[in-house]
């Protein structure tokens, strides 16, 4: 859809340039100024919309309220972020077949260890899979099966439309977000300072949780996540 908009915008620009730039163009080509005007407006509107979205970049901002969500887990339960006020929430963007997820859930137990270490400190972990139908790592059964294999004890929420992933600006799997007890976003980024296939020696999520559970400000609130792309529908 986006490609089509760009293509249309491109063709319109091209047409506009051709119309404006070519004196040899027969005047008949300019036949319907009203229509051209509309096209121009339409193009302008579309452009504005794209620009706004791009300018905003990530919708979820550090220090601001984290985007609300209501999502259903692989076991059919509904989870609402607003029900978790008073808890610290860790969101892990998830695709059980992405090698970077396998790295932290099978080759190592990075997330499970964190969950174990912090679950008695009012910290709630949740995985969110924003992969669209038919894409890698999608499907209730597959996620249930692999979550069991990986020993994940927290819910896997399904976001097939990708709306919540985009609201947070989740780009990779894994991509981690931490929300404080007041519902504000306090961390956005990588699990650690590693890379594909190499776990880091500094776990950013652990460091952030150590601070936020003590009521301190998170020192490193934004890092660059690494992993597979989130397999969005559009």
């Amino acid at each position: 859809m986006k490609a089509r908009i760009r293509l249309m915008a491109g063709l319109m620009t091209f047409t506009a340039i051709a119309l404006a730039g070519s004196l040899a163009m027969p005047s008949a080509a300019l036949a319907d100024p009203a229509k051209d005007g509309m096209k121009q407006t339409e193009k302008g509107m579309k452009k504005d919309k794209t620009d706004k979205k791009a300018d905003k970049g990530m919708t979820a901002k550090i220090g601001e309220q984290a985007p609300a969500f209501t999502l259903t887990s692989t076991d059919g339960k509904e989870y609402k972020l607003s029900d978790l006020k008073g808890k610290i929430v860790v969101l892990e963007w998830f695709n059980p077949e992405c090698p970077a997820i396998v790295q932290h859930h099978k080759a190592a137990t990075t997330f499970n260890d964190l969950n174990k270490d912090f679950k008695d400190k009012d910290v709630v972990f949740m995985a969110i899979n924003s992969g669209a139908k038919g894409k890698q790592g999608n499907g209730k059964e597959l996620n249930t099966k692999l979550a069991k294999e990986y020993g994940i004890e927290y819910p896997i929420l399904l976001d097939e439309s990708g709306a919540i992933g985009k609201a947070y600006g989740a780009k990779t799997t894994p991509h981690c977000f931490i929300i404080d007890k007041d519902g504000n976003l306090v961390y956005n980024g990588a699990i650690d300072n590693g890379s594909f296939g190499k776990n880091g020696d500094k776990n950013y999520v652990r460091d952030a949780l150590n601070q936020v559970t003590k009521g301190e400000t998170v020192t490193t609130a934004e890092t660059k996540p690494y992993g597979c792309s989130v397999k969005y529908a559009s």
Binding site: D51, K53, A54, A170, K171, F196, G197, Y226, S229, K231
Partner: protein, 332 residues
């Protein structure tokens, strides 16, 4: 999923030049992904078919002792799969690995390999406004190997232990160890070496490796390209250029801006810096692509500009380092 540059009049030309067209990677292959995802577990050697098949290649039938010889690592990808550039991608990981050599079976200590020279990649925009820079079909990374004088008359074996992430809609981590054995001749016998079929892949790749920015500045003293800082925006103007693109090698460029304005049909490109960490510092490191007109080939130049250069409004003196300073094993 498409790029303005590839949609316009340059389409057919750019495609045939293999420089700008951005094939879209579609087709969900979850069955395939399921089958291959187990490859991610560390196994010493691949037995299943790889989605990107690496090979060590040389342009001619042997190497010359006592001087740098260009060889290359080349990957042939399955249709619609891609590999990553070691610049500022939002996802993925570039190929990385280690090269070692033996001379007649003995460890070749002191033998040097040059840096990996990465060709300019393609912009790859995914749903969710995810921007990566990737390679399709074939990626050839030239580098040099310098066998010592004492290696003349012997045979040199180069081994590459490589790993890489290859994606279409799914991503698979693969690895392989590959070898290439070549005879080494003395420089007086260099004429005995014959060009091989892989020479053209290496030549093509070298053409796509960004040149130092000084090459763009040279010979344009009447209308010199300029670089300046306006607030948090770096403005690069290349008088006479029809299209420009900027591909960031280092952090510090706002991705939303790169997505929106990383490619323009203009002689001026604006690159927004993220200076939240240090408002006084401005650095810009990346690749500038220039298209002069519909019947020209896209040229790439490496920019490494500092505050001072941007304040002075012009590109600095030629950097002493080689064009591509991206190192293997250090994804951006």
């Amino acid at each position: 999923m498409s790029t303005p540059l590839s949609l316009r009049s340059v389409l057919s030309l750019a495609s045939s030049a293999g420089l700008l067209a951005t094939p879209s990677a579609l087709a969900a292959t979850s069955a395939l992904a399921l089958q291959t995802s187990s490859i991610a577990a560390a196994e010493p050697m691949q037995t299943k078919a790889l989605h990107a098949q690496p090979e060590l290649i040389a342009p001619q039938s042997g190497l010359i002792a006592g001087q740098p010889n260009t060889i290359a690592i080349t990957f042939v990808m399955k249709d619609k799969w891609h590999l990553y550039w070691p610049g500022q991608n939002e996802t993925g990981m570039p190929p990385e690995g280690k090269l070692t050599a033996t001379i007649d079976g003995q460890s070749a200590e002191g033998l040097e390999f040059g840096e990996w020279k990465w060709p300019t990649p393609y912009r790859h925009v995914l749903p969710g406004d995810i921007l990566d820079y990737v390679y399709y079909q074939r990626l050839t990374i030239p580098l040099t190997v310098s066998p010592p004088e004492s290696a003349a008359g012997k045979s040199l074996t180069i081994e590459a232990d490589l790993r890489w992430l290859v994606c279409d809609e799914a991503c698979v981590l693969e690895h392989s160890a590959i070898k290439l054995t070549l005879p080494v001749v003395s420089s007086s016998q260099a004429d005995s070496l014959k060009p091989g079929p892989n020479k053209r892949h290496i030549d093509e790749a070298l053409l796509k490796v960004p040149k130092p920015i000084s090459k763009l500045v040279e010979g344009r003293s009447d209308k010199p390209p300029s670089i300046k800082l306006e607030g948090d925006t770096v403005v690069i103007q290349v008088p006479g250029a029809k299209q420009l693109a900027f591909l960031p090698l280092a952090e510090g460029v706002r991705v939303s801006n790169a997505l929106k304005a990383g490619e323009v049909e203009s002689d001026t490109i604006r690159i927004e810096l993220d200076r939240s960490d240090d408002p006084d510092k401005a650095n810009l490191r990346g690749v500038l692509q220039v298209l002069w007109g519909p019947h020209t080939v896209v040229q790439s130049y490496e920019i490494d500009a500092s505050n001072e250069q941007m304040t002075a409004g012009k590109f600095g003196p030629p950097t002493p380092q080689a064009p591509s300073s991206a190192q293997p094993g250090k994804p951006g």
